[in-house]
């Protein structure tokens, strides 16, 4: 089978470094991964093509890159799943991190964020002489998030990081959840309080990209939601983030429809006039797009609101 890899390249040592695309035609085997293709280019056509790779088996996390627009592990992606005979596959470095050369990105910002969450077990007091006892379920539950290989793929495609570099990001938050959910860790409150700050767990917009692209099924966004739930249950100090969640729920419960102006007012508080005024352009735009109920705060509950309220009751009970 025949395919073309269209690879985004960048060499910082060029006289006027800028990125460009280069195409390589390849004869491939149906079992070949994109990584196999890249290695074939490197070994037989052009050894200046630069990428990181190691295990070839989706466990080391070295070969994260964007393939046809989404971040993934090149070793795990079969070329035939990306393109039919004669079609082109586009390969680019990961997003949301600086490019060093070709497909190699600088992971230093990634690791700096991981370090922010103090990623080590913090038990209380001296350890027992034997192992800590812990239920098999609790450890199996953690193994889902421990399968994270820190490849950076979720961080690459995180839409919040695209606009806000300070967001701690899906990988670090998933790692934080790993400790918060560990029965042996005693720093849960400190961890949740830290994540309760701006750039922490409330800044995820739930776009689900990280769940889509994660090659190991870690589901970072689900872990972030679990962190929020644990935060609310532990009664972390009220912040815009936590209030937003609570007010959101409250409005739906009482009106059955989201009342955006009320959401903003109650989230920020009436005292925060500056913040509210700054929102006016967005409110106007939302109005134009039909995203605000026409009557705003005066909107009445939707017909059949009692059904929604019954749902709320059941959800609370089953929790």
């Amino acid at each position: 089978m025949h395919t073309t890899l269209r690879i985004r390249r960048f060499n910082p040592e060029h006289d006027h470094p800028s990125s460009y695309y280069q195409e390589y035609d390849l004869e491939i085997d149906p079992s070949d991964s994109v990584l196999d293709g890249l290695i074939k280019i490197r070994e037989t056509i052009d050894d200046s093509l630069t990428l990181r790779c190691s295990c070839r088996g989706a466990i080391c996390g070295s070969c994260g890159m964007r393939i046809n627009g989404h971040a993934t592990l090149a070793c795990k992606t079969k070329m035939i799943s990306m393109a039919s005979e004669g079609e082109t596959i586009q390969v680019e470095p990961m997003n949301n991190m600086p490019v060093i050369k070709d497909l190699v990105t600088d992971m230093a910002p990634f690791w700096a964020k991981i370090r922010q969450i103090q990623p080590w077990l913090q038990p209380q007091g001296l350890p027992p002489t034997a192992e800590y006892t812990a239920s098999p379920e609790s450890m199996n539950h953690l193994s889902g998030v421990m399968s994270c290989i820190m490849c950076g793929v979720c961080v690459s495609d995180c839409t919040v990081l695209e606009v806000d570099k300070t967001f701690v990001g899906p990988a670090a938050l998933a790692k934080a959840y790993r400790f918060v959910a560990d029965p042996r860790d005693a720093a849960t409150s400190q961890r949740l309080n830290f994540l309760n700050q701006p750039s922490g767990m409330w800044d995820c917009t739930r776009c689900m990209e990280c769940i889509q692209v994660c090659p190991k099924g870690v589901g970072p966004m689900d872990r972030i939601m679990a962190l929020r739930a644990k935060g609310l249950a532990k009664k972390v100090p009220s912040t815009c983030g936590s209030r937003h969640a609570e007010v959101f729920t409250d409005i739906i419960k009482h009106k059955g429809i989201l009342d955006e102006p009320m959401l903003a007012i109650r989230t920020f508080g009436l005292k925060n006039i500056g913040r509210l005024l700054a929102m006016i352009p967005m409110v106007l735009q939302s109005l134009l797009k039909g995203k605000v109920p026409p009557l705003g705060p005066l909107h009445r509950p939707i017909p059949g609101i009692q059904h929604i309220q019954r749902l709320f009751k059941q959800v609370r009970i089953t929790r």
Binding site: S54, R56, I59, C60, K101, A130, P136, S147
Partner: protein, 572 residues
């Protein structure tokens, strides 16, 4: 005082399990420690260890002596029994220490650590995290190095060891991959923990980074390599590129079948069946394939009877791997597998403290140099390593090497070596990069080397084939100085790295073949069709190889240390 920013009491090369465990141990002794590694620590090949880590926990009725005996028997009596005793006695405390650091080992119903059964052992004493035990441990040890604030020079490539004028190891020369800048790292002691050399073979289960760098660098500096002929073929590697399918699959009850649907291990190991030790199972599979009862060069691993839920829960990684890489649903179809190069039992000779020189003076080496993990040979695994003993090796002997290296650093003055110690390596690299013309590619030479090794120095060996292989490797060594690379830059020049790694691998390949030609018997993984039997009278000894620049290595021998287990006939 030491006169450079790059000066430490203990410098650890390699940041897999052995390296990080060593660094943490040295740090706990109060030494100034740094890790230097060619990939980021969590990208290390330790990730690949799936099945688990052995320990006889005495508080639940297991005996360390049983674990030790089975390790000795598994090694075909080539392991040094003093080292095995240390391993088996200290395993429990190291597993508990790992658990306290945060490893999420699977539990039993009572909430205590749970076990599964592995090959070559009569009792379930393998502790595990689903089937990604190595990864789970590696990430936790990296967390610990972060907490201890141990500096990590990541993506640095070591080109040679530096010795002072008294012949002691005094540091390394390395360059930063990202900038191409050379630096001299001065250290009172250096610990080599660079892992294995799998890429000497093609195919191999090993990651592309496993190129024997540490072995070659230490060997060139004067440390002997031991028992290099002992190359383990893993019985269950995936058809094609040789990806590993964990032994835990057989531990959890999977069968091996030939093309006739026979469970052929009944003929080769009637008691232990699929759970005989790895060399035995690999040979059995290869015989089935050679005698025409294979399917396209493979036999089958049958997991169907285990059920989908069980497979996903306890063997989730290989369940996913079979889907992704072979398009097979393990719950519905058997998986084609075959023996594949997996592990180097030999390596840089060390004593039980990780020292690469002998304080008693029975053999020479490099004072100040330590080694641990797959790159080292204590000798624990002898002729054949038991599954789940390699992770244990890394943590027990990594810790011991770290502790002893810190003590050694404490009693020795700082090295005085001039910056000119880097000159030779700088010139070599400049020469490789600037070489013009369409010379041969490193990748082409590596493939020739790998297929040669896999053809002639694999599960079955004989003199003529190995002579052919040695001749071929010698020729490749003469071709190496003429290879050219297209990338002429300083930044992240992976072409340059491939060329340097190939140089290291060729030294390792030569050592493997010379060791294999020297040992005229069959023992463990070293099975010679021209010497079918184990010969304790002549060969109950280690083969030591000393590097010589322009000729094959100098061979010496060391007696095997026997404490309480006299060699017996080995049957499973």
């Amino acid at each position: 005082m030491m006169n450079s920013a790059f000066s430490y009491d203990v410098l650890v090369i390699g940041a897999g399990l052995a390296g990080m465990r060593a660094a943490i141990a040295a740090h706990n002794q109060g030494a100034s420690v740094a890790l230097l590694t060619k990939v980021h620590p969590v990208r290390s090949h330790s990730n690949a260890a799936q099945g688990g880590i052995n320990a006889a926990l005495t508080d639940r009725g297991d005996m360390w002596q049983d674990h030790a005996f089975e390790t000795v028997k598994g090694s075909d009596y080539l392991s040094d029994q003093d080292a095995v005793e240390v391993l088996a006695q200290e395993a429990g405390q190291d597993i508990i220490a790992l658990e306290h650091m945060g490893v999420i080992f699977n539990r039993n119903e009572e909430g205590h650590l749970g076990t599964r059964r592995f090959g070559g052992q009569k009792r379930a004493r393998t502790f595990f995290v689903s089937d990604f035990t190595g990864q789970a441990m590696l990430h936790v040890l990296y967390e610990q190095t972060m907490q201890a604030k141990i500096p990590v020079y990541e993506e640095w490539f070591v080109t040679s060891l530096v010795k002072d004028d008294q012949g002691r190891c005094a540091g390394v020369v390395a360059f930063e991959i990202r900038t191409g800048t050379f630096a001299l790292f001065r250290a009172r002691s250096v610990i080599m923990a660079t892992g294995g050399l799998g890429r000497v073979y093609e195919p191999s289960t090993n990651a592309l980074i496993c190129t024997g760098d540490g072995m070659a660098v230490a060997y060139r500096a004067g440390a002997p390599l031991m028992d290099m002929e002992m190359v383990q073929y893993h019985p269950t590697t995936l058809k094609g590129k040789g990806l590993l399918i964990t032994e835990a699959a057989r531990g959890e009850g999977a069968y091996l079948l030939n093309s006739k649907g026979e469970r052929f291990m009944e003929r080769y190991a009637p008691n232990m069946l699929e759970l005989a030790s790895r060399d035995v199972v690999s040979r059995a599979e290869q015989i089935e394939i050679n005698e025409g009862r294979g399917i396209k060069g493979c036999v089958l691993l049958d997991c169907r009877h285990l059920g989908r839920a069980f497979l996903q829960d306890r063997l989730g990684q290989i369940y996913a791997e079979a889907k992704t890489f072979a398009n097979i649903d393990l719950a519905e179809e058997p998986l084609p597998i075959r023996p594949g190069m997996h592990y180097q039992m030999g390596g840089i000779k060390t004593d039980t403290e990780g020292r690469c020189w002998d304080v008693q003076g029975q053999w020479t080496g490099v004072p100040g140099l330590f080694a641990a993990g797959e790159t080292a040979c204590v000798s624990l695994h002898g002729g054949n390593r038991l599954g789940a003993n390699s992770l244990l090796d890394t943590v027990v002997f990594g810790r011991r090497a770290g502790t002893c290296a810190a003590e050694y650093a404490n009693t020795n003055p700082p090295p005085t070596i001039p910056d000119s110690a880097m000159d030779k390596d700088k010139h070599l690299v400049a020469n490789i990069v600037s070489r013009k013309g369409p010379g041969e590619r490193a990748a082409a030479l590596r493939l020739e080397m790998g297929t040669t090794m896999n053809r002639h120095v694999s599960v079955f060996r004989e003199e003529e084939g190995m002579e052919t292989a040695l001749h071929h490797i010698t020729t490749l060594k003469t071709r190496w100085p003429d290879i050219t690379i297209q990338d002429k830059g300083q930044v992240f020049n992976t072409g340059l790295i491939a060329a340097l790694e190939l140089g290291f691998m060729l030294d390792c390949a030569e050592a493997i073949i010379v060791g294999a030609l020297t040992r005229q018997e069959s023992r463990g993984a070293h099975f010679r069709t021209d010497f079918l039997d184990r010969d304790d009278e002549h060969w109950l000894k280690h083969v030591l190889l000393y590097h010589r620049p322009d000729s094959p290595p100098h061979v010496e021998y060391l007696p095997v240390r026997i404490t309480q287990w006299q060699p017996q006939i080995r049957v499973y």
